[in-house]
Every structure is written in C-alpha cells, then in structure tokens.
C-alpha cells in the first residue's frame, strides 16, 4: 500500500516536472526538469521491481543525457553570439 501511494506521489511530481520542462522560460531549467523526470522514473522502476531498467535510466537518462544537453546548449550559445 505504501508503495502504491509513493508511486502515485512520485508520478504526480514527475508529471509536474514534465510540464515544467515544456513551459519553462529558461532552457537550463527545462533541461534540469527533464533530468528530474528521468530520475523519478528510475525510482518508480525500482519500486515496480525492475532494478535493471532503473539503473540504466538513472545513469543514462538523468546523468549522461542531461549533461549532453548542457554541452550542446553551451555550444549553440557560443556560435549564436
């Protein structure tokens, strides 16, 4: 029961973060919000007894993808100016 409630709460936070990622004015905030979506998704995978997927999601979805977004963002800013 606790797991179900926790999953629902995490899911709501995840949806709000996804909306933030879509509507945020600053791109940096949007990238961070999408990273948090992946992080919460990995916790939910763990709660749903899929630790293998949770590890991949945490390492690639929230770790590497966020940083690659930042690298590309930095590069775009530089060539724009």
């Amino acid at each position: 029961m606790v797991v179900i409630i926790l999953t629902i709460v995490l899911g709501l936070v995840m949806i709000s973060m996804a909306v933030t990622a879509l509507t945020a004015q600053r791109v940096r905030a949007a990238v961070l919000a999408s990273g948090i979506v992946s992080l919460i998704a990995s916790i939910i995978y763990l709660l749903l007894a899929a630790p293998d997927v949770a590890m991949t999601e945490a390492a690639i979805g929230s770790g590497l993808t966020t940083i690659i977004f930042f690298y590309v963002l930095n590069k775009i800013r530089r060539s724009d100016v």
Binding site: P51, D52, M55, Y71
Partner: protein, 231 residues
Amino acid sequence: MYKNMFIIVLLAGLGILLGSFLLTHHANKALPELPAYYADKTASEVGAANVVTAVIVTYRGFDTLGEVTILFVAASLIAMFLKTSKAPKDRHPRPSSVILSTAQKLLFPLIVLFGVYVFTNGHLTPGGGFQGGAVIATGFLLLLMANPQAEFKHGLLNFIESISGTSYVIIGILGAILGLGFLDNRFMSLGELGTLFSAGAIPVIYSLIGLKVGAELSNILHHLNEVQNEA
C-alpha cells in the same frame, strides 16, 4: 486556438484509450507461457541467477549484438562530426571549484570500481554490461567536469572498444562451434548457480560489453567536451 483544441482532443483520446485498458485489465496470477519458461528453465539451462541477464545475453543475445552495433555506429558518427583540429588549443575554461575537484579525486576510482562491479556481477545481481558501462562513463564525466582540459588517450579507448567488440563476436562464434548455437554460453562450464564464476560465458560477454559501452560513452563525452571552446 485550434492547436490547443487539437492537443486537448488528443489528450482526451489518449486518456479514454488508457482508461479503458485500466478498467478492463485484470491481473493474471500465473505467468504466460514464455515468461514461465524463462523463470523455470533459466537456472538449469543457462545457470544465471539473474533471469534478466540470461534473457539479454543468451536467449536474446542476437538483439544485444545489434544494440551494441547501434551504439558503435552512433559513437563513430559523433567522432566523425566532432572531429577536432590537431592544432594546440588556447582554452581557458573557468577553473572548477575546490569542492568539485577534491570530490572528483575521491569519487572517480569508486565510481569506476562500482561500474566494474556492476558488469562483472551482471549474472548475479541487477545490472550488467550496459549499466556498468554507463556508470563508468559517468565517472569519466565527473573527471571532465572537474578538469575540462583533461586529455584521454583516444588510442587506448579505441583499442579497448575494438578489442572487446571483436572478442564478443568471437565468443559468439565459439558458442556456435563448441556449443549449441551463436552466442550460446554453455561451451564454458556452467559452475555453481550464484557464484561469480558461473553461467558459462555470460560474465565474459557482459564484461566485454561493459568495457565497450564504457569506452564508447567516455569517447563521446570527451569529443563533446573537446569542441566546447572551439570557435
């Protein structure tokens, strides 16, 4: 206006679709035929304690080979498009904070060690080659964030990557010659279920995949880092 209406209609349709799935869904207590086969036969047939790993490396081994190939193609394309000039760079990135560089010195070996643990124990505990490789790449990412001017040995990374990729295919072919089929793990002794040296060739294959994925992702990150300060 029409765009918003379209989005609302789309969301409502999706909601009705998923809602009807949820209402008509009833949990099946018994496993369907294929999962039941995997759950019952893995321990005796493949000898891996982690059923997910057994499915990924042996039962669906050919798919994994395809995934590794896709990652290899992606890494090669990134290396091709982000080719940096050989000329010495005059980069002056902002020095990273003391906290980050001190923490990096402590954490980098631990993260790499954890990645190696994840892929060598892929047949026993959750995780495996892809997860372990990604963890190792995050270690290298921390290194790059603490010292943006760090130079990796590209030759070494490429060597590790190509050697492990080739060995993976060779082990697959050995499985076809000595065992029952391509990527069969039973040409090596299965050992005792639950020990490190068990499950035949699975630990070897997963370690090779881990090294390959780790080297590829680190290479991608290094290429992205290198082009940051170019004009």
